[in-house]
């Protein structure tokens, strides 16, 4: 006998880990549309399982709260139950000894407030609140509601051309999204419960790498309606709207201010993420429609808006957020300081900068900041540094973007708030002075930086790139008479501009800078509602059918990741960073799809995915 043992006292602890991990995965795959009352109950039941049993308000209170919540969930309760529940939670919050108890109570109380309507419906109407019903997770999470299980099934059968058609049913940019979509579809993928989310974007990339989008003919437009629609802005939103309206038989003219189509996909996203020739595949397919006319280098001012709205049957304004925001820093007007938008938009017209031998500092922590940093590396910079006020994990850029930038040699200097740009004798930027920060209290869900008691930091900088957001250039449209909220152009939920019968507005210029797929969703919505406003209800045939499902493969697998070229090689050019997903990798990923459009609630709602 020894005095100390290496064996844990609770012998099950060693085996608990994988079960806790499974629980965490299940939480991650929380299905959209679930009843919030059930969610609150589920949270409490996890907390109750964690109770040690020592303190009265927790050991006695948790089972009581669970019972009360079950009564509410099962419509056996009334308002008094909610009062009793709140009292029990307040007692635990105020008198609990440790966080297992008081934190659970705080969460429960927050839930009672956040879901007040849902709780009220349970005790008053005896039913879940209106709209509470589960749906197919990926297709619901995709803003454009692309029928993802259907195209995965088609891809899995090697029918990539039909997969392109199926994607195009809701999204005419299969290639652009295959390369740059932030894939919100994967966030609640049910496969996560088994192992990890299906690599949906990876499958889509395999599809468009196997068959180029412009090699898959678009459907023939429906018979001409004789209606004319003007689309202002040739980015993802405007072109999506133009594509669907043209398919419905309307004549569409796209007015684009710049030299080429694509919007931020060309003038914002660098070519190493979205090669121009790949973007052109989508654009060629869209422009192959005979009733889409494109006018480039034709910016629309207030007078032109007036003409378009009176001469056309409808106008869709989707001008994006193309202005670069600047910081109000001393020295920000120095030579060498520019906005991210300036840099990236010039590249869109093939005007590449030469930063050979220069020290570049990028201010910001979003995806655009990473785009600037990685572009600077490729432009030959001697050093590239990102200066950011918060921590690495607080960056709004996707983690993979941050990792890729680091791999390419970008230095991340976190907790550094820019104070001023220092200039040399010629008035040229030579350094960025930063005020060190300390990460502090969580405010509105995010830890906020506060000035730290540390000396100022000076980062040598010949070029300072400001990537702190984009501005909407809405002045011509406000002058024309459209409403704006600060700089965002206003629209109702159907994207109709208030005060106009035939003017619609959507995308970045309406809800602020967001993602390509969000812009596409707005364009699709606008197309449907413009068609309706013109007195039609056209239904489109995408030319592909949803294949029947195979039984689920329940064996856990690892998730196939999209491979990238070695950092030391790719950092020298603007060629695509990502490598193709192989046929066998794609086939394995496709087999992991659980066909939630057929199994589970999808058996009831999955068909909704087949029509708009």
């Amino acid at each position: 006998m020894g005095r100390l043992s290496v064996k844990p006292a609770a012998t099950a602890d060693g085996r608990v880990g994988e079960f806790a991990a499974a629980l965490a995965r299940r939480v991650e795959a929380m299905p959209p549309g679930m009843c919030p009352v059930s969610l609150v109950l589920g949270q409490l039941q996890v907390a109750r399982a964690q109770t040690c049993g020592k303190c009265t308000p927790c050991a006695q209170g948790m089972p009581k709260m669970e019972r009360l919540l079950q009564d509410v969930e099962q419509f056996r309760a009334d308002e008094r139950t909610l009062v009793e529940l709140r009292r029990a939670a307040e007692l635990l919050r105020d008198t609990g000894d440790c966080a297992v108890g008081w934190q659970a109570a705080e969460t429960l109380l927050a839930g009672l407030d956040a879901f007040a309507d849902e709780f009220a419906s349970h005790v008053q109407a005896g039913a879940c609140a209106a709209g509470t019903r589960q749906t197919v997770p990926c297709a619901t999470q995709c803003p454009a509601h692309v029928n993802i299980p259907a195209y995965i099934a088609l891809a899995g059968e090697g029918r990539c051309d039909e997969a392109v058609k199926m994607i195009r049913k809701d999204n005419p940019f299969p290639t652009a999204c295959a390369l740059v979509c932030e894939h919100p579809c994967e966030a609640h993928c049910r496969r996560t419960m088994v192992d990890a989310p299906v690599n949906i974007r990876g499958i889509k990339k395999h599809v468009v790498d196997s068959v180029a989008a412009d090699a898959v003919p678009v459907p023939r437009p429906l018979p001409s309606t004789g209606k004319r629609v003007a689309v202002v802005g040739g980015g993802p939103s405007g072109l999506t709207c133009a594509y669907f309206l043209a398919l419905m038989g309307h004549d569409v003219t796209v007015h684009e201010g710049r030299k080429r189509l694509g919007g931020m996909m060309r003038y914002g996203i660098p070519a190493y993420r979205l090669p121009r020739e790949r973007l052109d595949e989508d654009l060629r397919a869209i422009c192959s429609l005979p009733n889409v006319e494109v006018k480039t280098e034709s910016p629309v001012d207030a007078a032109e808006m007036e003409r378009l709205s009176s001469r056309c049957d409808a106008v869709y304004v989707a001008v994006g957020a193309q202005g670069g925001k600047m910081l109000d820093l001393p020295g920000a007007d120095a030579a060498g300081v520019m906005s991210a938008v300036d840099l990236l938009s010039r590249i869109g017209d093939d005007d590449y900068p030469d930063f050979t031998g220069k020290n570049v500092v990028v201010v910001g922590g979003g995806n655009v900041a990473m785009d600037c940093a990685r572009t600077s590396v490729r432009a030959g910079a001697a050093s590239v540094t990102v200066a950011y006020r918060r921590r690495l994990e607080d960056m709004t850029a996707l983690a993979v973007e941050v990792e890729a930038a680091i791999a390419e040699g970008v230095e991340m200097m976190c907790l550094q708030a820019p104070e001023r740009v220092e200039t040399d004798a010629d008035g040229h930027a030579c350094a960025l002075a930063c005020r060190p920060q300390r990460i502090g209290e969580v405010r509105r869900g995010r830890p906020a930086p506060v000035p730290a008691d540390k000396p100022e930091l000076r980062i040598p900088a010949d070029v300072v790139l400001i990537a702190v957001g984009q501005a909407i250039e809405g002045a011509p449209f406000e002058e024309f008479g459209m409403q704006a909220d600060r700089t965002r152009l206003c629209a109702d939920e159907f994207l109709r501009a208030p005060g106009f019968d035939n003017v619609f507005v959507g995308g970045d210029c309406q809800w602020g800078p967001k993602t390509v797929i969000m812009a596409i969703a707005a364009g699709k919505t606008a197309a449907a509602n413009i068609d309706e406003a013109l007195g039609f209800r056209h239904a489109l045939d995408c030319g592909a059918e949803v294949p029947p499902a195979r039984l689920n493969d329940r064996t856990p697998y690892g998730r196939v990741q999209v491979a990238e070229r070695p950092a030391r090689e790719r950092r020298r050019d603007f060629a695509c960073v990502e490598l193709p997903v192989s046929g066998e990798e794609a086939a394995q990923e496709c087999r992991r799809c659980l066909r939630c459009d057929v199994y589970g609630i999808g058996a009831l709602t999955g068909k909704d995915q087949e029509r708009w």
Binding site: P31, M34, S38, Q74, C128, T132, R133, P548
Partner: protein, 579 residues
């Protein structure tokens, strides 16, 4: 074709066939509750589990055959799992079978007996609030969430009255958008009732009111039976269709104690005289095409609730049983008064919507000399579905098989084959065409030119063109409201154009009506339509205008079709009332 091994035997089935159907083709019966072929393959009840080699237990309703699949439906593990899931369904079902109108036709009850299930150990679910006056009744405590009503209403009947809401244990079937049923656009076709596996959905029971009237010595009870009733009424009282003749039907009405038993077929003939004349007049007018039939109250409700702009194009003719009610109330009034009795008119119908129709004040004959609709006494006092009629026969203990056949009472009992086929899709149109030609040319047409037996709910609509007295007439027939919606869309887009269109709300017409006897997962419409067609073929009289009693009715009371009296008794201004 794909070959699988089913219970050790090779079985062939077309690719894409679900296992449950492949098994059925091979004569192997797999229990199901939620599955409705082609419409509801949601795999929710898990009563149809089978064992597939290498895959374990799978739901046979949503698993398609694959070449080489080895399937056992008779494996003890599959049977045990099916039984366990059925027990779970039973645990959430208020199994008060003894007092349930579906006790003989409930799919769950049959499986419960087969699988030796126990009553639920927990408290019984609650019935939930419902408008008890509405002809469609719902008991939430018997709902097993199979979603068949949701699918039928949405996919087959284009109405989407039923929906589901909530998630998890809180998920339930509800009227869409939380509306009261009377405001939800329900046409009362009753297809959800005939496709409900349990007693959750039923038609309002009016048998007590009818029995009371029969027992009341101060009441003269008059019954009428719709054309389609004769094709199905025997199913609920254990008669074969050879035994369940119209003569035995008339005898059973008398056996129940009705003072008079009339045949709605007679009123169908009358409808043809009125609607046929209306159509002949319409052909010469420049009114917007087409004219729609108005015999089906489910269709009339669909128009008024979902396509009100078409109300003006509905025929002004009342439906046959309403015409019969009007004729009974107006022509037998003196006879009843002389006997010191008041008339009570009962329609036995294959229909749920007729329960609402008989209570529409505007469909009662307007009191002479006044326009006060509120004072109008209904022409038809009660409507029984065929299921209620059969229940009444069982309650009274009528031994139908032993009844000698009798004729329907006169003078409203003689009918023609044209009236009989009103009970199937296309029948109204065919009967109308037989007589329209006569009304125009004075000669009977070639029957084959009028034939509509090709009409079926499997295709959206059937159409034909024929020449009547030098005019080309384009007619179409549709049944089922999804089919109807497609036809209306084609008419509105100009893709199709017709002069006269017959619509029946139930797929296949009244033979498959929402008030007919229920057989789980067995669509009897085509079989019952054959019975009507055979009766028509065997009838000596096959054209409505040849019915001598119809001619006599016009001579004694109505003068001529579309006369002033005919309008007062037999027509309604469709635009003057809404639902």
């Amino acid at each position: 074709m794909v070959t699988i091994t089913l219970n050790g035997r090779p079985v062939e089935a077309p690719a894409g066939t679900m296992l449950v159907d492949a098994a059925a083709r091979a004569g192997v019966d797999i229990p199901t509750l939620c599955y409705l072929k082609g419409l509801n393959c949601i795999g929710s009840c898990r009563a149809c589990l089978v064992e597939v080699e290498g895959e374990g237990l799978v739901a046979s309703c949503n698993t398609a055959v694959r070449d080489g699949m080895v399937v056992r439906t008779d494996a003890p593990a599959a049977a045990a799992a099916r039984r366990a899931n059925l027990q779970a369904v039973m645990d959430g079902h208020r199994a008060v079978c003894a007092a349930c109108v579906r006790q003989d036709t409930c799919a769950l009850r049959r499986l419960a007996a087969d699988c030796n299930l126990a009553d639920s150990p927990g408290p019984l679910p609650e019935k939930g609030a419902w408008d008890e006056a509405f002809p469609l009744q719902r008991d939430a405590s018997k709902c097993i969430k199979c979603m068949r009503c949701v699918a039928v209403c949405r996919e087959v009947q284009h109405c989407g009255v039923w929906d589901f809401t909530g998630a998890g244990p809180s998920m339930k079937v509800v009227v869409r958008d939380g509306l009261p049923i009377s405001k939800a656009g329900c046409t009362l076709c009753g297809q959800c009732v005939t496709h409900c596996p349990t007693g959750a959905l039923t038609a309002r029971d009016d048998t007590d009111r009818v029995l009371e009237a029969i027992l009341d010595p101060a009441v003269m009870t008059v019954a009428q039976v719709a054309p389609a009733v004769r094709a199905a009424w025997g199913e609920g009282v254990g008669l074969s269709h050879e035994e369940a003749t119209p003569g035995r039907l008339a005898a059973s009405l008398h056996a129940l104690g009705f003072d008079k038993a009339f045949d709605t077929d007679f009123a169908a003939d009358l409808t043809i005289m009125e609607e046929g004349s209306e159509f002949v007049e319409f052909l010469g007018s420049d009114k917007p095409r087409p004219l729609f039939t108005s015999c089906c109250p489910g269709w009339v409700r669909f128009v008024k609730l979902h396509r009100p702009h078409l109300a003006a194009q509905l025929s002004s003719s009342k439906s046959p049983h309403q015409m019969m009610g009007a004729v009974v109330k107006n022509t037998l009034a003196d006879e009843a008064a002389a006997a010191g009795k008041r008339l009570f008119c009962v329609s036995v119908m294959p229909c749920v919507a007729k329960k609402y129709e008989c209570a529409v004040p505007e469909l009662a004959t307007a009191p002479a000399g006044g326009d006060n609709i509120a004072k109008a006494v209904p022409d038809v006092d009660a409507v029984l579905t065929v299921r209620e009629f059969d229940r009444l026969l069982r309650t009274v203990g009528v031994n139908c098989a032993d009844l000698p056949e009798t004729a329907f009472d006169n003078p409203l009992g003689t009918s023609t084959g044209a009236g009989t086929i009103f009970g199937r899709t296309g029948g109204v149109m065919e009967a109308a065409l037989r007589s329209a030609a006569f009304l125009v040319t004075g000669k009977n047409p070639d029957f084959s030119a009028c034939d509509t037996t090709a009409a079926t709910p499997e295709v959206p609509w059937m159409s034909r063109e024929l020449v009547i007295g030098g005019t080309t007439v384009r007619v179409a027939v549709a049944s089922g409201l999804e089919n109807t919606a497609k036809l209306l869309e084609a008419l509105e887009s100009g893709e199709a154009s017709f002069d006269f269109v017959e619509i029946m709300a139930c797929p296949g017409g009244c033979v498959a009506g929402g008030g007919q006897p229920i057989h789980f997962n067995s669509e009897r419409g085509a079989f019952r339509a054959d019975i009507l067609n055979r009766l028509d073929a065997a009838d000596a009289l096959r054209c409505s205008h040849e019915n001598p009693d119809i001619q006599k009715l016009y001579a004694d009371w109505l003068d001529a079709p579309l006369s002033h009296t005919a309008h007062a008794w037999l027509h309604t201004d469709q635009e003057s009332w809404q639902i």
